[in-house]
Symmetry: C2
Subunit: 306 residues, 2 copies
Amino acid sequence: MTSILVVGSVAYDTVETPFGTAERVLGGSASFFSIAASFFVPVRLVAVVGSDFEQKHVDALAAHRVDLEGLERVEGKTFFWAGRYSYDLNARETLRTDLNVFESFKPRIPQGYRSSSHVFLGNIHPSLQGEVLDQVERPRLVACDTMNYWIEGTPRELRETLKRVDVLLINDAEARQLSGEWNIVKAARAVRKMGPRVLVMKKGEHGVLMFGEQGAFSAPAYPLEEVFDPTGAGDTFAGGFLGYLASVQGTGALDEAALRRAVVMGSTLASFCVEAFSLDRLLKLTRAEIDQRFALFRQLTHFDPA
Amino acid sequence: MTSILVVGSVAYDTVETPFGTAERVLGGSASFFSIAASFFVPVRLVAVVGSDFEQKHVDALAAHRVDLEGLERVEGKTFFWAGRYSYDLNARETLRTDLNVFESFKPRIPQGYRSSSHVFLGNIHPSLQGEVLDQVERPRLVACDTMNYWIEGTPRELRETLKRVDVLLINDAEARQLSGEWNIVKAARAVRKMGPRVLVMKKGEHGVLMFGEQGAFSAPAYPLEEVFDPTGAGDTFAGGFLGYLASVQGTGALDEAALRRAVVMGSTLASFCVEAFSLDRLLKLTRAEIDQRFALFRQLTHFDPA
């Protein structure tokens, strides 16, 4: 059966934006990813939290068909991140990162998860990402995130993992750093030579560029009148992207039309994410609202060639 | 008959990019605009040059059905601009601006130009833009450019001119400055209240957002492997946009489908402009090459909703 296995962080965030502050709210890449993907397929979460993790947050995830068998609870504190956004939300400063129980996280994949058809390797040590792949059977599709910290610090391990990845989702700065190419077309070609058949390059408010076997696809970010908190938008994009793809992908190769719709679905989910703090908007979202905004994306980008 | 009247600068530019330097090459907003628009309709140029303006540049413009009756020649030197681009082409530094004969430019519209169906007011003093409109009969469409210098320095005059404009083409920073709104959706609404029914917001390498009566339209910049010199890209966009629109617009209202194709056509022309110094690429361009790249834009942005 189609289902997504996601490995990543579940965290508490304290976020300051020009519009207010949210203290110790639910965050982490795997949280945003899971809720976004859960609108399309069942999600199996592998992450670690501390003894301070609240039951209401367990309940929130469980209520969205996120399987929590792989959510490890250990003595200590949950990963904590604090950050502050600039007045225009375009820059953010990390005020504090306490890895806590996440520091010694070793993903253990429950037996029942091993046949998952789709895998999302969140932004963790590339060797751990590889160990996750060692524990799963024959996923139809492996998608992966990473960041500057691993690109700089563990390039060899990252290269090994990338050989086993179908879709890499990173931002434009990371693609430039990973490839050593400034030009994004050249950067994309170099990254795709490392393994991933598809590179999804996230550009924040400037949208997404996907590079695949059939060339490039460009999708804008939805022009919102109120952006409240950008935290988690990239992970939410990934969840919408992979969730949609898993829900429509047959057993065959990556289908270009489905990949393009998946990019737009990712952008759709991300556009809701930024409307409120934490997962507040995503947890209240309905499939009807998603489909409505997806249709608006077509209105935003469509032109008749003649 | 359909034709575009353009008023703006014709200049000599010295441009330094990471790939080389071009000395005293043909530039100026009206030059780029005219050549781009000339692929679609006849263009009537109103500008001023000095006695140093070379015959080969007159010939280059004339060879592209640009009517030069309105190109005034006066004693002195042609407007000169020198600039240097950063290694990534994303920032540029003005090294020198010699207004020369452009300083006392007073656009005089030849009798034969006054019935032009479309008018493009290049980036000059807003009061001069208004005087141009006083001298034309009943244009079907008035498009306009401006810049931070006029937004700050002559806000009252600019507001008067904007009341008479159908389409304003400016970049995102200018739209924010003009409206006093950071959010681009709010900025667009505020600008459209000043007069223009359509705001075309240029975002350089991030493409274009058009705001009109039927909502927003987003088009990416074409992802090029080699960007050589961005000088003139915005003016070339405007020429492709308005040239295409003039070639298809009936006597009626602005047609949304045509406006969207015009945005893509502007982006198409701009993508050629940046492939070489000055107007070098545009002067060699063919209509077949334009149509081919226009089709690539559809491939780049199209997705099937289901």
